[in-house]
Amino acid sequence: MDVNPLRDGLRIEPSPGPTTIVIFGASGDLTRRKLLPALYRLSVEQRLPPRFSVIGIARTPMDDEGFRGQFREAVSVDRQSEVATSFERCLHYMPGELDDPAVYARLCDQIQGDAHGNGVLFYLAIPPAAYSTVIERLGAAGLTHQKTPRDWRRIIVEKPFGSDLGSATALNALLHQYFDESQVYRIDHYLGKETVQNLLVFRFGNGMFEPIWNRRYIDHVQITAAETVGVETRASYYENAGALRDMVQNHLMQLLTLVAMEPPIAFTADSVRDRKMDALLSVQPLVNRKLGTSSVVRAQYAAGWVDGHEVPGYRSEPGVAQSSVTETFVGLRVQLDSWRWAGVPFYLRTGKRLPKRTTEIAIQFKRPPLEIFKRATSASVAPNLLIINVQPDEGISLRFEAKLPGTRMQLSPVMMNFRYGSTFGGDVPEAYETLLLDAMIGDSTLFARHDFAETSWGLISPVHDAWGEAVARSIPQYEAGEWGPAEAGRLIEGDGRRWRTL
């Protein structure tokens, strides 16, 4: 039976065929905090196939029971829970060094021992430095070869995907030695968020927005990804990355392209990703010979107050160098060379230790061409604003002018709000649930393609290079709990605009 007759009309989405997920880095933080809980939730929702297993691989000495204990801790389930017990039986663990060929030989035996055919999803939840070792060993062991469509082999690569254009290109080249591009899933968990997916529905599932989604009606776009947390335990990674690599190259560029892309001809992986690539290719270089990096500002948080708590400056955080010039805040003005967006700036900002945790896209429309209410109101009318809240309160708001009740003609801006939580109720799936399931099913729409990763690095790397060449190795500071440095304000105020106060 090629088509399952029992799926006809079944309301539950198709679940993948028999699958084994091999997690490299199984004893790590990502596995514990995200992957195991996401897989368990999928199991509870009956989205996993009847034949499903997880093989965890890591250096930590542990057996199956230890790995299952780790799962119990991660999802805080009742020991008596039969569902959890049943799921646990799918979890297996294989201790070993990632560069040890014997590990891959054992893995080969386990995977290929299943005569019925099995899809295998490799998940690289390991430091990027170890990616090449695992990819080469998988290739050498013949584990990347797909004999039949049922024996599919796919690989999920976590961010950061490279640290600059050169390393991203090299990583892609290595992956393509052993995997076809259709087997590679570069994960960006932002793309698994409901609101990000809803942006596509909002733009292309409604007829009324697309006609005004262009330079004729839109004044500018602001994309903000603000965190209240500091560097926490990630100093060793963050010191070499900084906000530009950690957030802009992937998350913010993804959001930008979803806002800027042309309509795809279908909701398919290739069509959507082609249009996103078009948008990314239209982004003007962030560094130019005349103006240098003047469209990018960076800063680092100093000591201050966040959420009512006094917090240390970045350089006082554990693992951070006293003289570090790593940026914890970046603000950018991005221009797109396209018919749709010519002359419409996209302002991007992201930072740590900002006053509020929020990620949003704000589309500010142009004012009406004629202010006919000028005589009635002293203030000019507020421009229409469309806000897409990515997190934490997923939803969409629209600001427009309304008449204040009364005999006088007075105007006031009002907000029309749509919130996912209160409108639809129920639990919104975690991004990792959506993305893991998509990878098992073979839908790469919400994953970054090789050319996106490289083109994005092609925009970001020159900025880093220019910063590295700067004579004065200093960086502006902003007080923790503030919305970034004064330089960020000047970046947008120079254009006669202001950052939104969130």
Binding site: M1, P5, L6, L10, V44
Partner: protein
Amino acid sequence: MTGAPARRTLTATIVAVGPPERTREAHEVLQALAAKTAVRNILITLGDNPAPEIRTEGDVVTIEGLVPRYLNNAVARLRVSSMPSLAWWRGGEREELESLADLVDRVVLDSVDPTRDWAVADTIAQSTTISDLRWTRLTRWRSLVAQFFDITDARIDGTVFSTLDVRGGDPWSGRLFGAWMTSRLPHGESLQVNVEEVSGGAPIESISLAGDGTRLFLRLLPNRHCIESSVEKSGEVLASRIGPAVDDRLEVLLGEELRVRSRDVAFEDALRQAKVIHD
């Protein structure tokens, strides 16, 4: 009016219609649903009161004793305009059901005895989409069985299933499940369906699909919260798995129905087949 949900973006109207003895339960369900979902709820009990009392509590509007011929008028007045509306039919006369069906986008049947409703389902399906909460309760069971057929599982590959045994407290649910299998499986017409009523049991307690020495077996575990599914070949259990059973609280089932907009041909086919099994 009390409660906060008025500030929310309303997405649909649910019109619950039924006999007085089922009103209290429906009212509680609609209150629970309103707390979670942005839906306007209208609860109507039919009667002969020419000036029925209209009460509003939170997001639920209740009309008691409405004269049947005014049903359409009341619903048209109270529904959220331009948004989907769903009729939750908890029992009543055929004429009322048919007139209500003309006004809503989806009819969800939920009568204690569905015989009369099922008899007019085909007619209703010509004007609007139709479902039954019994069918919604079967979703998890159907999904579990369907998974074995996704990419033909080698353990059941080539098996011609000949008997289906369904045990449970609601014989109509068992019949509907059997009808779905016979209407969907290749060679389903030759499947022998046996429905056994279990007094006081859950709507479905167990399902056994067998043939050629192979058996797919699903059962509700004693804790009532989990379903165990297993494959047996020649008496040997090849695999078993435990998953959560469907959350069959009425507000959850209705919430599920609100998510569906399209016509459910599988249900309509199963319903036709169920009538054959019944006859």
